[in-house]
Amino acid sequence: MSEEIGSVLPILLVAAPILAATLPLIFGLRLERTGWSVALVTCAGTFLASLSLATTVFGDATHVLVIHELGGFARPVGIELVADEFSTLIVLLVTGVSLAVLAYTRVGGPRGNTFYSGYLLLVGGLLGLSLTGDVFNMFVFLEIVGLGTYALVASGDGPESAVAALKYLIVGTVGASLYLLGVGFLFMATGTLNMLDLQTQVEAAGYDNTLVVAGFAFIFVGFAIKVAQWPLHGWQPDAYQHAPDGVTPLVAALVSTVSAYALGRVLFTVFTVDFVTATPYASEIIVAVGATSVVAGSVLAVIQYDVKRMLAYSSVSQFGLIVAAYGIATETAFVGAVIHLLGHGLLKAGLFLAVGVVALGYGARTVGEYAGLAHERPYVAGGMAVLLIALVGIPPSVGFIGKWYIALGAVQAEAWVVSAVIFLSTMLTLAYVARLLERMYFTPAHPLSDPHDTAHDHAPAAATDGGTDAANGGTTGRVTVAMLAVVVCIAVLAVLLGFAGGLFFELLEPFTAEVFN
């Protein structure tokens, strides 16, 4: 009985948000503002469903696969939705963050029923991308996620957001198309699209098969665009900066994270560790791409003035760490990558929510304007400070354990370049984080020597009203208790998870045991 309910959960998680995405539009014909309520009910429902899924998957110490065969067609012909230890953790992150961000959008975010239709469509796409067990189905969900993201990024009031969204659309489509081309090569070599079936078929075709290697190359480059690896990251800072403040936390925390998860899934379930080690230069190239992104992203983040843009470049570097850890392909590094995937998603959700709260209540957008924030807005500044310190990787925090295990894996695998890069990137992260912290805590809002005190008083307000970013519609809204509560809760969670390194290892153990031997 419980097994039957369990196998329905994956399809429920994917279908419910996508079907619910039509409701705000239908209700919108008669009622003005029902979108938020529909989104809240749906996101809360999917969160509960994902918790239930987690109890099924993690309830057993063995490797559990909750499989739903769509339409009752069996593997390899049918399309499957598969929940295992790896994907369930990502599903928990997606449902949790999408629920938390709603606390901000109720008052601060873009309004209107169409926005929430896009929101639910994006959540459904992300859940589908996390749960799918079919490489072509993965392409479809990749594009659904893409469409949802382009629409949400463009939902800002300013014209800049449309330009950023179009840039993202063109680059993102190329990424997804390259992935599809790679899938085509794999299909040519094996004649199947199911991931578990592909795993055996790819091995049968031989890891040195030209079609398999070409397919891997296209898939990797496609994902490198979607995950925003240097030098293919160009779309990402613009999209994050010009998206409305209510959208950036969702997009920054989830979209690239789930794409990076999908890369890991294809790498370890379809191609397997044996392929990565057997193919000449495969591991080296993956590590090189990741390591370059770490350094380039950190350096670019240090020289930014806009806080949102700075955090966007920081994402480039953090995802570089994850990709490099994939390339090392040892158990420790892989667990580190998964922890960092979750931890970074959580931290960026909290940080971008805090940025939204600051823009809404304090009118600050650049590093310079953050001066005196700790004095004026102690709660949001405190939450943001904890999240920033966690991003650097100072224990105890989720940022620390992720980096620690990746570094440990790199040392064990004797990948000295990666170890050096992690150390360097931590220093550079500290550089841009410290710059912001110094502004928030140690620089007074109005320089004492400045005689034109009143002129400075109006400067931040003018900056918001002028709508240079126009992300929050040019109106200074009010900061609600719920927004602050979410930022503080995420900060507390980020610290608490810092003690959960062993727990993650145990949770992922059945999956890693399957993959790494």
Binding site: V77, F136, F139, V140, E143, G146, L147, Y150, A151, A154, P159, E160, A162, V163, A165, L166, L169, I170, T173, V174, S177, L180, L181, G184, F187, M188, G191, L193
Partner: protein
């Protein structure tokens, strides 16, 4: 000579990569935003054609295998192309149409805000602001 033979039997793939290149070049080099989107469409169309031609590839000397009608039923008589790539292309076309619609909607909005469709002019207008 071997090169020519490969070209004669694999011209579909050569055509596909030429189209792919043309699409990519249009995306990068053309200043007009609408033509950039046409470039994206060409790029995608090339991949669709690739999938269609894959469906006819022989497997182990036998004509195209298909999950619905296996090739062994009447070897040498029944030539069935695999329906799976066709279904994939059908789905991918729908996705492509949706993408084009979103892209054009964004371009309409950019035009109404900035009054231009050219990227270089757009850059100048944005730099002035």
């Amino acid at each position: 000579m071997i090169g020519l033979e490969i070209l004669a039997s694999h011209y579909a793939y050569a055509l596909m990569f030429v189209l792919l290149g043309v699409g990519l070049y249009m995306m990068i080099a053309n200043e007009n935003l609408v033509k950039k989107v046409i470039g994206v469409n060409l790029f995608q169309t090339a991949i669709f054609l690739f999938f269609v031609s894959v469906a006819y590839v022989e497997v182990d000397g036998e004509p195209g295998d298909s999950p619905v009608v296996p090739a062994e039923v009447a070897p040498g008589e029944l030539f069935v192309a695999s329906p799976l790539p066709h279904v994939i292309v059908l789905t991918a076309i729908v996705v492509g149409v949706a993408l084009t619609a979103v892209a054009l909607a964004l371009i309409v909005r950019i035009y109404s805000e900035y009054g231009t469709l050219r990227e270089d002019t757009l850059r100048e207008v944005r730099a002035d602001e």
